[in-house]
């Protein structure tokens, strides 16, 4: 694991408040007027040249949202959000109609370059051909969709994916080009009435990714979306919809960063996954939104609804998340195990430092027969942060033979942070078998002394112990992401000891 060494070196160079992605890009942007109204919704819909049915769908959601109240049950605290004081749409002002990567504002391309997101296909090719340990070189390519504030600015490898029959494009384009698919699946996993933030998203979402993998197709490359909030006072409401048709397979990666700002920014995304018979979706997230500074000022509110529907028999959905950023994280990537023999997985690393608050976990809803699920959650709390795992596992009356295994491990660094585990388990039939294991541990002085006696600095020692603690989950990530995630983990724990 050469990355460990790399990690500890990076940590040594970085200060607590140096969020690596905290730069801002100065570009002209095209914004909706501040505040939320039917006009705002119509403005967004018009900007996207949407058909009438889409506008109607949004307005319905908006009207529903007006009747809803913000939920309060999570173990998080934040001042009241003024929804009229936000911009709901911000797009980099295009110099002209964009038809190829060459025409995208070079400032934006530079931003993605700084983030290490290779947008140009040549760079993608060069960037990810790597030697896998001492084995023969493995060629891996990733198609990238980059979303800047509200708009998707570039999607790579489109042509090649098209040949395989895979549709991968900004959702705004999919609404225009594949209305039959969007109409059929949008809101079918997370209905417009689902919850306060999801309903808000349904009304004002501006972009996101759309993926459709046709029957029997194994997507020839990893798909990836990179989200970036740049504009001040903007909410980012992206919407992702992934459909894996019968017998297909797709692996999808999502990365997120934002500039460093004193005010809080709202991010309320919705992700819907649909897996039909014998299909498999693997969804990985490395979330590194700006977490706020060392006094707890600023940072992203990450209030996200992610849900997968194992609609067909023998289908499988696997969520892997590495959460290191955001001032507040409030999300539960979940699986509805509807098809018989379907399987849901949730692998999570949630790290909180400084004043960060995390309330995250999953829901595994067993509806079909012989459905199985597995939950591995690793929570790491440092500084003055609060880290909660909240999970729900249920078996429907008809879900005979349902099985779940849950392991929640928490690691505390220092004595001013908190780790909490809130598992809910409901079995409505007697053949369901649910197992739950939970541990809470502290990085002990003895372990730190042992490591420092062998020549590691305190920071290196913490990095090593934590990377060992999360290893089971890191192994679930695609290799490129695993290395990046490992670095992030150590960086986000910088300053947590001594």
């Amino acid at each position: 694991m050469p990355a460990v060494q790399e990690t500890v070196e990076r940590v040594r160079r970085i200060d607590v408040d140096q969020y690596r992605y905290g730069f801002e890009t100065l570009i002209e942007s095209d914004k909706a007027p501040k505040g939320l109204s039917e006009d705002t919704v119509a403005f967004i819909s018009a900007k996207k040249s949407e058909p009438a049915w889409m506008l109607e769908w949004r307005l319905e959601a908006y009207r529903r949202w007006l009747t809803m109240t913000e939920p309060k049950w999570a173990r998080v605290n934040y001042p009241k959000i003024d929804y009229q004081d936000l911009y709901y749409y911000s797009a980099p002002k295009p110099k002209k109609q964009v038809t190829s990567l060459d025409e995208i504002d070079p400032e934006i391309l530079k931003t993605y370059e700084k983030l290490g997101i290779p947008l140009r296909e040549v760079e993608v090719l060069e960037g990810v051909v790597r030697k896998d340990g001492e084995d023969a070189p493995v060629e891996r390519r990733i198609a990238v969709d980059a979303v800047f504030d509200s708009v998707s600015v570039a999607t790579t490898f489109k042509e090649e994916l098209k040949k395989a029959g895979v549709i991968f494009m900004p959702i705004s384009e999919a609404i225009r080009e594949h209305p039959e698919l969007v109409k059929k699946y949008l809101g079918s996993v997370v209905p417009t009435s689902d919850n306060f933030f999801a309903t808000l998203n349904s009304a004002v979402f501006s972009d996101g990714s759309f993926v459709y993998v046709p029957p029997g197709v194994r997507c020839p490359m990893e798909l990836s979306t990179y989200f970036r909030i740049n504009e001040r006072n903007t909410g980012q409401f992206e919407r992702t919809l992934i459909i894996a048709d019968k017998g297909s397979y797709v692996s999808y990666l999502e990365g997120c960063t934002a500039p460093q700002r004193d005010e809080n920014q709202l991010h309320a995304a919705v992700v819907e996954l649909v897996a039909l018979d014998d299909a498999e979706i693997k969804y990985s997230t490395v979330q590194n939104w700006y977490p706020g500074n060392s006094e707890g000022l600023g940072g992203i509110y990450n209030f996200v609804t992610k849900r997968g529907d194992c609609r067909g028999k023998n289908s499988k959905i696997s969520w892997t998340q590495v959460e290191t950023g955001s001032a507040i994280t409030w999300k539960y990537p979940s699986c509805i195990l509807r098809g018989d023999n379907s399987r849901g997985e949730f692998y999570s690393i949630a790290i909180s430092n400084g004043f960060q608050q995390v309330d995250s976990g999953t829901k595994m809803l067993h509806l079909g027969k012989n459905t199985t699920s597995r939950i591995i959650s690793k929570g790491i709390a440092a500084g003055r942060s609060q880290n909660t795992y909240r999970g729900l596992v249920t078996a429907h009356r008809k879900a005979t033979g349902a099985r779940n295994f849950t392991a929640c491990d928490s690691l505390l660094i220092g004595d001013k942070c908190g780790a909490h585990t809130v598992p809910y388990v409901e079995a409505k039939n007697s053949s369901a078998l649910f197992e739950h294991e939970a541990t809470t541990s502290k990085i002990s002085e003895d372990v730190l002394f042992y490591c420092t006696q062998r020549g590691l600095s305190q920071e290196e020692a913490v990095g090593l112990v934590v990377n060992g603690f999360v290893k089971d989950v890191l192994q679930q990530l695609p290799m490129e992401f695993a290395v990046e995630a490992q670095k992030l983990i150590s960086i986000s724990l910088e300053g947590s000891v001594g």
Binding site: M1, Y450, R454
Partner: protein, 250 residues
């Protein structure tokens, strides 16, 4: 210049003074045994030399190659060549022993201004040392000390000692929890590391270990002081008469 000079050291933990003016001089090539009853301060001495936090040094000094050791962090001391083989080595789940060894060795090399060992060179060296000490290579792939038997943990300590090539090895109760066969294996490993450039301080409660690792000097500690020093025959004398006489002397 002596390798290690402990001069009139007094140490407290919270409100209790554990060491009251302890002195010890160790030269390169020598093996010193420190014996004494439980609670006499043997382990405290080893921890303070290695730099464990929570101990307050209220008087005296520790010089290592003439440098003030008390001014250094534990990792700096390690890089200078101080090695402590722990009585109870900790477990680090999820971190492969090989990864740990490589990270630690390279951290030490870097601190000394030496170049880092790249993976192939490191693997060669690690396997060479493991083979020499009869440590199965498979053990290097397991998590650090996770699920190791008492004997395996001690062998892992000796393996690290051999790999890091320190100039001062402190062995804290390395015989505790070992049966006679495991003790012999561990002692063979230690004896193989005896060298004119290296000194060893062997801390033990029982004389038994000293049949295998034969010391040049024996010091008896009682109540935070060295109360008697002598050659290896002193250990045998202790075995016969016990510690009681020294407790009275202290």
């Amino acid at each position: 210049m002596p390798l290690l000079e402990v001069k009139d050291l007094t140490v407290r933990v919270e409100d209790n003074e554990i060491l009251h003016g302890l002195s010890l001089t160790v030269n390169k090539g020598e093996v010193h045994a420190i014996m004494g009853p439980n609670g006499s301060g043997k382990s405290t001495l080893s921890h303070v030399i290695a730099g464990k936090p929570d101990y307050e040094v209220t008087g005296g000094e520790i010089l290592f190659n003439g440098e003030d050791l008390l001014e250094m962090d534990p990792d700096e001391r390690a890089a200078k060549g101080v090695f402590l083989a722990f009585q109870y080595p900790v477990e680090i789940p999820g971190v492969a022993t090989m990864t740990f060894l490589r990270t630690a060795l390279n951290a030490q090399r870097k601190a000394r201004g030496e170049s880092e060992l790249l993976t192939p060179a490191f693997l060669k060296k690690a396997y060479e040392v493991a083979d020499r000490l009869n440590v199965p290579r498979d053990m290097l792939k397991r998590g650090v000390n996770v699920g190791f038997s008492g004997g395996e943990k001690k062998r892992n300590e000796i393996l690290q000692m051999a790999l890091f090539e320190p100039s001062l090895c402190i062995l804290d109760e390395m015989d505790s929890g070992l049966d006679i066969d495991a003790l012999r294996v561990a002692a063979d490993g230690v004896n193989a590391l005896r060298s004119p450039d290296r000194a060893m301080v062997v801390i033990t409660h029982y004389q038994r270990l000293l049949n295998y690792v034969v010391p040049d000097f024996v010091h008896v500690m009682s109540k935070g002081r060295v109360v008697k020093s002598g050659g290896k025959e002193l250990a045998l004398e202790l075995e016969a008469s016990g510690y009681t006489q020294f407790e009275d002397a202290a």
